[in-house]
C-alpha cells in the first residue's frame, strides 16, 4: 500500500477489511456482514466498497513528520545574475545532446564551454543556484575533469545534498569534509580526537586540511602517531606533505628514510630531493658529481659520464631503486636516479663555472647525452628550476625541438610548466611558427587560458597555412577544439577574413575549402559566445580564468606546489 497518511478514525473498524476479504474470495463463497448472499450480493458489496473508499479518501489526514535533516550550511556567496543562471541551465542541458558522431556544422559545442564557464563563475565568487545543483552534480559525476570546478561552485550545499543521494557519493570523497564534518584546522582538541579515532579516509582528509592551513601542525600530528601507522597508511599520509613542502620538514623526512617500507622510503627521498638544501640532496649531489666531468683531452671540452659501479646501502637508503626495469642497464639506471635527485646548482660549480646553457651545449661522450639530459629534465621539473628548464627547452625554432631530440614533447610540456605563462606562450608560439601544429597539441595544453596574443596569432596563422596546403580541417580537429576554448574572444574579429569558402585549388582535397570555412565559422561563433558568457557573469571577458584548458595533459601536477 502506497499511502502512508492515516485514514480518519473508522467508526466500525474492520468493515473495510471484511469487504476486501469477501471481494478477494468472491461473493459465491463469502459475503461480508450485512450483505445477504444471493444474486444481488456483488452489487451490494460494490455499493458498500464505494462508500467506504470515498469515506477513507475523504478522511485522509497527514502523517507524522519523519526526522528532518539538519539544514544545509549557509553559503554567503552572491547569487548569479539572471542571464548567467539561464546560461548555466543551457550549458547543463546540453551535456547529453551531442552524442552523434564527429563534430560538424557551425554551432558551438556547449558542453566544452562548461569548464570555462565554471572557472569564470568561481573566479567571480558566485554561488550556484540551488535548483541547478542536481544537474551540476550529474555532470560532474560523468566527467572527472569537471569535478574540482563544479564542486567548488556547488559549495557546501552540494555536500549536504550528496549525503541524501547515493548517486552522488563521489562528492563525499572529492570534497574536503565530505566523509564527516571535519573539525576546523584550528580546533586542536577535536583535530587530535579525530586524528586518533577517525576512519582512514577521515584522517587523510583531516591531515590534508590541516596541512593546507598550518604545515607544521600537520607534520607534528603525523609524527605523533607515525610508528603505530600501517605501511600503506604511512605512504598516503607522507604524500600529503607535498603540499607546503619546506626545509622544516627535513628532519621528519630524513627519519622516514629508514622506514621499513620501501615505498615510504622512496617517497621520503623524492620529497627530500625537491628540497635543494636538504642533507639528502647534498649526498646525492656528491654521488652524482663524481660521475660527470669535463674532459679536455680532445679537440674541445666535452662531458664524460662514469656511471656508478654498484648501488650501495647508502644509496638505497636515500631512495635509489637498485633493481633496474627489464631492458635497462643497471649502471645507467642508478646514474639516472642520482642525477635526477641532485640539486641542479651542483653542476655549474662542478663543470667549470659554466651556465646551464653552456653545459647543455657541451658534447657528451659515449652516447650518454640523452640519459644525462633526460635526468636533468626530471630534476628541473621536480625542483621547478626555470633557468635550467629554459636551457633544456632551447630555441623553439631549432630543428631538434620538433623532432625526437634528447627531450621528448611530453618532457618539454612539463618543462614549460615551470616557466611563467607569458614566457610559455611565446615559446609555444615560436614552436608552432617553426614546426606547425601537428606536434603542438601537448604543448598548447599547458598554456594559460585565454591564450596570449602572440600564441593565438601563431595558431590562427598555422591553421590558415594548413588550409592553404589543401588538407581537411579534421586533421586539426584537436587544435581547432582547443582554439575554440582557449583563443582570446577579442581575437574573433581577426578571423573574419577566413570565414568565406576559398576558391578550390587544383591540388586541394575536394570540398576542403567549404569545411574549413565551416570550422572557422564555428570557431568565431564559439568565441563570440564565450564573450557573451563572460559579460553575463558581469566582468571583462575571461578575467581570472587563467588555468590551463580542459585538455591539460597533466604535467607534473603532483610536484611540490609553491610553498
Amino acid at each position: 500500500m502506497t499511502r502512508t497518511s492515516a485514514p480518519a478514525q473508522t467508526p466500525a473498524p474492520g468493515v473495510w477489511e471484511e469487504l476486501v476479504t469477501a471481494a478477494l474470495l468472491g461473493t459465491d463463497r463469502r459475503t461480508p456482514p450485512g450483505i445477504p448472499p444471493g444474486p444481488r450480493a456483488p452489487a451490494a458489496l460494490l455499493d458498500a466498497a464505494a462508500a467506504e473508499t470515498v469515506r477513507r479518501r475523504a478522511g485522509l489526514r497527514p502523517a507524522r513528520a519523519a526526522r528532518r535533516p539538519d539544514p544545509a550550511p549557509v553559503d554567503p556567496r552572491p547569487a548569479l545574475p539572471a542571464a548567467a543562471a539561464r546560461r548555466l541551465a543551457m550549458l547543463l542541458a546540453d551535456r547529453s545532446g551531442t552524442a552523434g558522431g564527429g563534430r560538424r556544422g557551425t554551432a558551438p559545442d556547449l558542453k566544452e564551454l562548461l569548464p570555462q564557464w565554471l572557472a569564470m563563475a568561481n573566479a567571480r565568487g558566485f554561488v550556484a543556484p540551488p535548483q541547478a545543483l542536481p544537474a551540476l552534480l550529474d555532470a560532474a559525476r560523468g566527467r572527472t575533469d569537471l569535478r574540482p570546478a563544479a564542486l567548488a561552485f556547488a559549495g557546501p550545499r552540494a555536500l549536504w545534498l550528496a549525503r541524501l543521494n547515493p548517486d552522488w557519493r563521489f562528492v563525499l570523497r572529492a570534497m574536503p569534509g565530505g566523509d564527516a564534518a571535519l573539525p576546523r584546522p584550528g580546533d586542536t582538541e577535536r583535530v587530535r580526537e579525530l586524528w586518533r579515532h577517525g576512519l582512514f579516509a577521515e584522517r587523510v582528509a583531516l591531515l590534508t586540511a590541516v596541512r593546507a592551513h598550518d604545515p607544521a601542525a600537520a607534520r607534528e600530528l603525523l609524527a605523533g602517531t607515525w610508528p603505530a601507522e600501517r605501511a600503506e597508511d604511512r605512504l598516503m599520509f607522507l604524500d600529503s606533505l607535498r603540499t607546503g613542502l619546506g626545509p622544516d620538514d627535513e628532519p621528519f623526512l630524513e627519519q622516514a628514510l629508514t622506514d621499513r617500507s620501501r615505498n615510504v622510503r622512496a617517497t621520503a627521498a623524492e620529497l627530500l630531493s625537491a628540497l635543494p638544501g636538504s642533507a639528502l640532496a647534498g649526498r646525492m649531489a656528491a654521488r652524482a658529481a663524481v660521475c660527470v666531468a669535463v674532459d679536455h683531452t680532445g679537440d674541445g671540452p666535452r662531458l664524460v659520464v662514469e656511471a656508478p659501479h654498484e648501488c650501495d646501502a647508502g644509496m638505497e637508503r636515500d631512495g635509489v631503486v637498485a633493481r633496474a626495469p627489464a631492458g635497462r642497464g643497471e649502471r645507467s639506471w642508478w646514474f639516472g636516479q642520482l642525477a635526477e635527485a641532485a640539486p641542479l646548482a651542483t653542476w655549474p660549480a662542478r663543470l667549470g663555472g659554466r651556465t646551464p646553457r653552456e653545459i647543455l651545449a657541451l658534447p657528451v661522450a659515449d652516447d650518454w647525452r640523452s640519459e644525462l639530459h633526460a635526468a636533468w629534465c626530471r630534476a628541473a621539473v621536480r625542483q621547478r628550476d626555470a633557468e635550467w628548464a629554459r636551457a633544456l627547452l632551447g630555441s623553439p625554432s631549432s630543428p631538434e625541438a620538433g623532432g625526437p631530440g634528447a627531450v621528448s614533447l611530453a618532457e618539454r610540456a612539463r618543462l614549460l610548466a615551470t616557466l611563467d605563462s607569458g614566457e610559455r606562450a611565446v615559446w609555444v608560439a615560436g614552436f608552432i611558427a617553426a614546426h606547425g601544429l601537428s606536434e603542438a597539441f601537448q604543448l598548447l595544453g599547458v598554456c594559460a587560458v585565454p591564450w596570449a596574443a602572440p600564441l593565438g596569432r601563431a595558431v590562427v596563422d598555422a591553421l590558415n597555412i594548413a588550409r592553404d596546403a589543401g588538407s581537411y580541417p579534421w586533421s586539426f580537429s584537436g587544435v581547432m577544439g582547443l582554439a575554440e576554448r582557449c583563443l582570446d574572444p577579442s581575437e574573433a574579429g581577426r578571423l573574419d577574413g577566413l570565414l568565406a569558402a576559398p576558391e578550390e585549388a587544383e591540388d586541394a582535397s575536394p570540398g576542403a575549402g567549404g569545411y574549413w570555412a565551416e570550422a572557422f565559422q564555428r570557431l568565431v561563433t564559439t568565441l563570440r559566445l564565450r564573450a557573451v558568457m563572460a559579460e553575463e557573469l558581469g566582468g571583462t571577458p575571461e578575467a581570472g580564468a587563467g588555468e590551463p584548458g580542459a585538455a591539460d595533459p597533466g604535467p607534473a601536477t603532483r610536484g611540490a606546489g609553491p610553498a
Binding site: E52, A58, A63, G97, T98, T106
Partner: protein, 447 residues
C-alpha cells in the same frame, strides 16, 4: 495583431521544445554563427540557418501571440518546433536579431499568408454542434446516451461477475479481459469508462496491496455506472460531473473570468499517440485555480505554452463539472509577462482537508491542486514527504513523484529550510510541480 510584443525570455522559448533533444539542439543553434538574413518585424522573426552544407533552411516564427506561436521551417526535421525554430527564437530572445527596416522577405510573407488561412481551427473534436439543426443534434445526443447506457449496463454485469468469482481470479485472467472490455466501452462512446477499465487491467501487476486498490477502483467504476444510470435523479452539479467523467464533451459554458492569471505549472504527459499538456493557473484577484488542457499529436508540442512564473491578463471560462477547475482560455489582453506574485500557502492538514471536501462534489477525484506554504522535503525511508515547518505533520510524496529529477531540484532548493510548493494532493500522496524558495526568488519548475 500588429503590435510588436515584448521579446520572450529564453525560458519561454525553451518551454516550447517538444523534448530534451530538440531543446539542446535549439541551445546549440541559438548563437549567431549559423544564421544569416535574420530580422524581426510585424510580429514575426525570420532567418536563414546554414547547418551542414547545402541550401540554408528558411525559418520563420509568428511571435505575435506567445501562448500559441505559429512557425515554419524548411528543414526535414519531424519534431515541431524543430531546433532551428528554437535556435532562432533564442537568438531573438538574446536581442541578437535586428529589427528589419524593410518589409520581410517574400518567403516570409508567403508563409504568413498561408498560415493565416489555416488559422481559426476549432478547439478539438468534441465541440458543440452548430445551431443549424437543433432537432438532429438532440436525436444524436439521445442515440449516444442510449449507447452509453448499454455500455454501462454491460460493465455492471462484468463487475458483478468479477465480484462473484473473486478478485483473486483477476490476477489469473490477466490483461486481455480488461482490454476487451475497454474496447467495448469505446464502442459505447464512453471514453471515460474505457480509460478507467484499462487502468483496472494494470492493477493486479502493480505490487503489494493490489487487491485493495483493485477493489477501490472497481467500486468507483461501479459508482460511476450507477451515477450515469440514475443521472436524472442526481443534483445538476453531480450529474454534470458524472457526464464529464463518462467522457461526454461539453463546451466551457462558465462566464468568462478576467484576472491576472499566474502560471503555476505546466507539464506534459507524453504518450506515443498524444501529448497531454496540463497548465495550472491561479487568479491573483479571484483566488481561483484553473486547469488548461492542451494536446499535441505524436512528436509535436501542444499549441498552448505558458511558462511557469509568468502571468497573463486574460479571460478563463470554466467547463461544467464538479469544482469547475478545468477552464478554457479566452481573450488575452496582453502578452504574458514576468510576475513576482505567489499563491498563498496552506498547511498539510488544510491540504488534506481540501481534498476530502472536494470528494464530496466529485468522488472520482484523484487529487486537488494545492499550494503548501512553509514545508520541508524530508526523507522517509525509501520515500520522501513534505513536512510542515511549524507542525509535526507531513504529506507523503506520490509514488510517481519519488523518482523524478524534479524531486532533487526541490530538495536542493530547500536545503532543509521551508519552501512553498504547488502540486496535486490526493489519496496517492502529494505530487510537487513548482516550488518557490524562502524569501525572494523565482518559481522553480519541478516537472
Amino acid at each position: 495583431m500588429t503590435q510588436q510584443g515584448v521579446r520572450w525570455t529564453a525560458d519561454q522559448v525553451l518551454a516550447l521544445a517538444p523534448d530534451a533533444a530538440s531543446r539542446s539542439a535549439g541551445g546549440r543553434l541559438g548563437a549567431a554563427g549559423p544564421w544569416s538574413g535574420t530580422g524581426t518585424g510585424e510580429g514575426a522573426v525570420w532567418g536563414l540557418c546554414k547547418d551542414s552544407g547545402g541550401e540554408p533552411y528558411r525559418t520563420v516564427v509568428d511571435v505575435a501571440d506567445a501562448s500559441a506561436p505559429a512557425f515554419a521551417c524548411s528543414c526535414p526535421s519531424r519534431t515541431a518546433p524543430c531546433g532551428h525554430v528554437l535556435g532562432l527564437l533564442l537568438l531573438w530572445s538574446g536581442g541578437e536579431v535586428p529589427a528589419a527596416p524593410d518589409p520581410a522577405p517574400d518567403w516570409v510573407g508567403e508563409w504568413r499568408a498561408g498560415s493565416a488561412v489555416r488559422e481559426g481551427t476549432v478547439e478539438g473534436a468534441g465541440s458543440a454542434p452548430g445551431p443549424a439543426a437543433p432537432e438532429a443534434a438532440r436525436r444524436r445526443a439521445e442515440r449516444r446516451a442510449a449507447r452509453i447506457t448499454a455500455g454501462a449496463t454491460e460493465l455492471e454485469q462484468r463487475l458483478a461477475d468479477l465480484l462473484r468469482a473473486g478478485l483473486a481470479t483477476a490476477e489469473q485472467q490477466g490483461y486481455g479481459l480488461w482490454e476487451e472490455t475497454a474496447a467495448r466501452m469505446v464502442d459505447a462512446q464512453a471514453p471515460g469508462l474505457a480509460a478507467r477499465v484499462r487502468e483496472l487491467g494494470a492493477i493486479p501487476a502493480s505490487g503489494p496491496g493490489w487487491p485493495v486498490r483493485l477493489l477501490e477502483e472497481c467500486a468507483l467504476l461501479h459508482l460511476l455506472d450507477q451515477g450515469w444510470l440514475r443521472r436524472e435523479r442526481l443534483p445538476d452539479g453531480l450529474a454534470a460531473t458524472v457526464r464529464s467523467r463518462i467522457g461526454l464533451p461539453a463546451p466551457a459554458d462558465g462566464p468568462p473570468v478576467r484576472d491576472h492569471w499566474l502560471v503555476l505549472a505546466q507539464h506534459d504527459a507524453p504518450d506515443p499517440r498524444l501529448t497531454t499538456r496540463r497548465i495550472w493557473l491561479y487568479g491573483t484577484a479571484t483566488h481561483r485555480t484553473a486547469l488548461l488542457l492542451s494536446y499535441g499529436a505524436a512528436g509535436r508540442a501542444p499549441d498552448l505554452s505558458l511558462p511557469v512564473g509568468l502571468a497573463l491578463d486574460a479571460e478563463v471560462s470554466a467547463y461544467p463539472g464538479a469544482g469547475r477547475l478545468r477552464g478554457a482560455l479566452g481573450e488575452q489582453f496582453a502578452p504574458p509577462g514576468p510576475a513576482s506574485a505567489r499563491p498563498p500557502g496552506v498547511t498539510t492538514r488544510q491540504a488534506a482537508a481540501r481534498y476530502g471536501e472536494a470528494l464530496r462534489e466529485d468522488p472520482w477525484l484523484d487529487a486537488v491542486p494545492v499550494t503548501l506554504g512553509r514545508v520541508v522535503p524530508v526523507p522517509d525511508g525509501d520515500s520522501w514527504q513534505l513536512a510542515d515547518a511549524d507542525e509535526d505533520t507531513a504529506l507523503p510524496l506520490a509514488p510517481a513523484a519519488r523518482s523524478r529529477p524534479g524531486l532533487w531540484r526541490l530538495v536542493a532548493l530547500s536545503g532543509g529550510a521551508p519552501v512553498t510548493v504547488f502540486g496535486e494532493c490526493g489519496h496517492q500522496g502529494f505530487t510537487p510541480l513548482t516550488a518557490w524558495p524562502q524569501g525572494e526568488g523565482e518559481a522553480v519548475p519541478l516537472h
